[in-house]
């Protein structure tokens, strides 16, 4: 018992410090390899997007498969402002957070009246409509897309041409800020109301809170985070087109990474992106010379395996490992200590068993 940290927060803090140091030092280890640097940046970007999705999907329990919309709107906002009005990219970043947040609230007004699968389909339908409209709308570049004007590199212009390492650090800063803000949000009264909505919306209404208003706030925060990620993407690739920023695959991947990492947890989206982005990138270069998509074959198979064996996602796997480690360090008297470790997803599994008890 003595060997075991009394409060998990101490070990968490140490782990966080180690992780932060590793994240800061990573570009040094990667050096001049663009593939790895790009992958590391992508992991951070998808982690930010997953965190954003999680505010609505995880905290408030409103599963959306239309979140690519806010990513795309963020990207388009900054590019259009730069192209048409020559607006500074950092102002573009602010606008790229505000515009998607506002749109998210507007989308929420009709959609939040719906529950369950009806809500999911509604988010999909809205995102797909905007995607199709953008493919024919000349002012936003239609299906061809828009190029961001190339400027001298530097932080002021949010553009780096020869060495892409600054992008990595900007993405890292984004992830740290977003994760920190959400850590605070989860503990705030707002966070509690959101989780209460997830668990029982009618009870929340009964207590005098307006679920619609709180869901709109979650949606706005969620949309703003996705929008910021979209701005970053636009500055990183210096180009937007409907398929690459508004496509359905973005919405699906974001939700998938967050869910596979662990719904409603702060580490889940980071874990999900850190495992799944490299998986798909490496599989792509190792197997896909033939254009035969072996990466997706492995990917799909793994998702099914996780569904059958670890339905609470990668976070569940991690918590299992922690339980096992605690049991080992406490001299295999594990059963006494087991209640110390939270396994919420597991309990939920037991409660929702639709099978007759036969």
């Amino acid at each position: 018992m003595a060997a075991m940290p009394a409060r998990p927060s101490v070990s968490s803090a140490v782990a966080l410090l180690v992780l932060a140091a590793a994240a800061l030092a990573l570009p040094l280890a990667i050096g001049e390899r663009p593939f790895e640097l790009r992958m590391a940046t992508l992991i951070l970007l998808f982690a930010v997007m997953g965190q954003g999705w999680n505010v609505l999907g995880g905290f408030a329990g409103q599963v959306s498969i239309g979140h690519g919309l806010y990513f795309g709107l963020g990207a388009y906002t900054t590019v259009l402002l730069a192209l048409r009005l020559d607006v500074d990219p950092w102002l573009g970043l602010v606008a790229g957070a505000l515009v998607p947040a506002l749109c998210a609230v507007l989308v929420g007004i009709p959609c939040f009246r719906l529950r369950g699968h009806y809500f999911v389909i509604a988010t999909l339908v809205v995102a797909e409509s905007v995607f199709q409209i953008f493919t024919v709308w000349e002012w936003v570049g239609s299906a061809v897309g828009l190029e961001l004007p190339v400027k001298p590199e530097g932080l002021a212009n949010f553009q780096f041409h020869r060495d892409k390492t600054p992008y990595y650090y900007i993405a890292l800063a984004m992830l740290v800020v977003v994760t920190g803000a959400l850590w605070w949000l989860r503990r705030s009264p707002l966070g509690f109301v959101l989780r209460a909505i997830r668990d029982d919306e009618d009870a929340v209404r009964g207590l005098g809170f307006s679920p619609q208003a709180y869901k709109s706030i979650a949606m706005a925060i969620s949309g703003a985070i996705l929008g910021v990620a979209g701005v970053f993407h636009a500055q990183y690739v210096l180009f937007v087109d409907p398929f690459s920023v508004l496509g359905l695959h973005i919405s699906v991947l974001v939700a998938l990474f967050a869910i596979m990492g662990g719904v409603g947890t702060l580490a889940g989206p980071i874990l999900g992106a850190a495992v799944l982005v490299p998986l798909s990138e490496y599989a792509r270069i190792h197997f896909s010379g033939s254009g035969r998509n072996v990466d997706l074959l492995i990917y799909g198979f793994l998702i099914m395996v996780i569904a059958v064996y670890r339905p609470d996602g990668l976070m569940g796997l991690w918590q299992r490992a922690r339980v096992a480690a605690i049991r080992l360090t406490s001299g295999r008297k594990g059963s006494d200590h087991a209640p110390d470790v939270h396994l919420p997803a597991r309990r939920r599994v037991a409660r929702h068993d639709p099978r007759p008890s036969a």
Binding site: I121, A122, I133, T135, I259, R292, L296, G300, I303, V349
Partner: protein, 288 residues
């Protein structure tokens, strides 16, 4: 605007509509019986279309001839998916069920691309090709056949579900699995049957569709997206709803594609969905 053109558009809209409806009925049946949304449903369609195409390319067997075999094979495939995958996650959370069918979708799509490549294939000059002229109106035969075949299949399904003992058991299991099992109905067998029938419906759609649509690894995604909307528009779990909504969507997208723009042809469908669920949050025929 000539009457002839209108009739042609309606026939082609109904052809597509029945295809959407068959896919949506399969989805809604599975959902109704066990509350699982099959994300791989479009890929079942894709497999059926490849089966149809390959039989045609290898043996010259017409899609019409192979239809019963494709349907039987898809029925078996549905059972296989149920027993190998879905049964394993039945006791799990909703997340686990989403993963399972989503993973299957990604896997089947990638598998198709691995085996067949990303190329587009088409059944050319099948028995059901070309046009017929009825009273001065030129109508495409494949779409007419889709209307005829799919309405027959839908009628057969209605008889099975609403007029037979098995159908009654299926509906009983859908309403209350626990109560049904006390009456001697084996819910697991009913779940399996729902997967079999749901996949068989897609098999019919695939055979008919292969007469007038290309097959490629991502073909399922196009159709299933609208089929999901049809299921939700009709009301999750409602067979009538899926049929009506499927037809409505087929007509609407063909008419918009012609009169407005082919790039925007799905937008009115999506707007229709939003408008309907705002008035009726559980779709046209959904139960509360």
């Amino acid at each position: 605007m000539s009457e002839q053109l209108i009739i042609q558009l309606i026939v082609s809209g109904l052809g597509m509509g029945f295809i959407f409806a068959l896919i949506a009925i399969g989805l809604t049946l599975i959902y109704g019986v066990m509350n699982v949304v099959n994300f791989a449903h479009g890929e079942f369609l894709m497999l059926g279309m490849y089966a149809s195409y390959l039989a045609f390319a290898t043996w010259g067997a017409d899609p019409l001839v192979t239809l019963p075999f494709v349907v039987a094979a898809m029925f078996g495939f549905g059972l296989l998916v149920y027993y190998l995958l879905i049964r394993q996650v039945l006791g799990g959370s909703m997340q686990a069920q989403i993963f399972a069918t989503f993973g299957l979708m990604v896997f089947l799509q990638a598998a198709a691309q691995f085996v067949m490549g990303a190329d587009y294939f088409a059944v050319r000059d099948s028995w059901l090709s070309g046009v017929v002229t009825v009273g001065g109106v030129v109508l495409p035969v494949p779409q007419l056949a889709a209307v005829a075949g799919a309405s027959l299949a839908t009628a057969a399904l209605y008889l099975l579900v609403f007029r037979t003992a098995v159908g009654r058991q299926l509906r009983a299991a859908a309403q209350d699995a626990q109560a049904a099992s006390t009456l001697g109905i084996n819910p697991s067998a009913m779940y399996a049957l729902a997967w079999g029938i749901g996949s068989a419906c897609v098999g019919v759609a695939a055979s008919l569709l292969s007469n007038f649509y290309y097959v490629f690894p991502r073909v399922g995604a196009i159709f299933v997206l609208l089929a999901y909307v049809a299921v939700a528009l009709g009301g999750f779990g409602s067979i009538h709803g899926a049929l009506v909504a499927g037809l409505l969507i087929g007509l609407l997208q063909v008419l918009t594609g012609f009169f407005v723009s082919s790039e925007l042809k799905f937008v009115p469908v999506y707007m229709l969905y939003l408008a309907v669920v705002l008035l009726r949050p559980r779709g046209l025929f959904g139960r509360s």
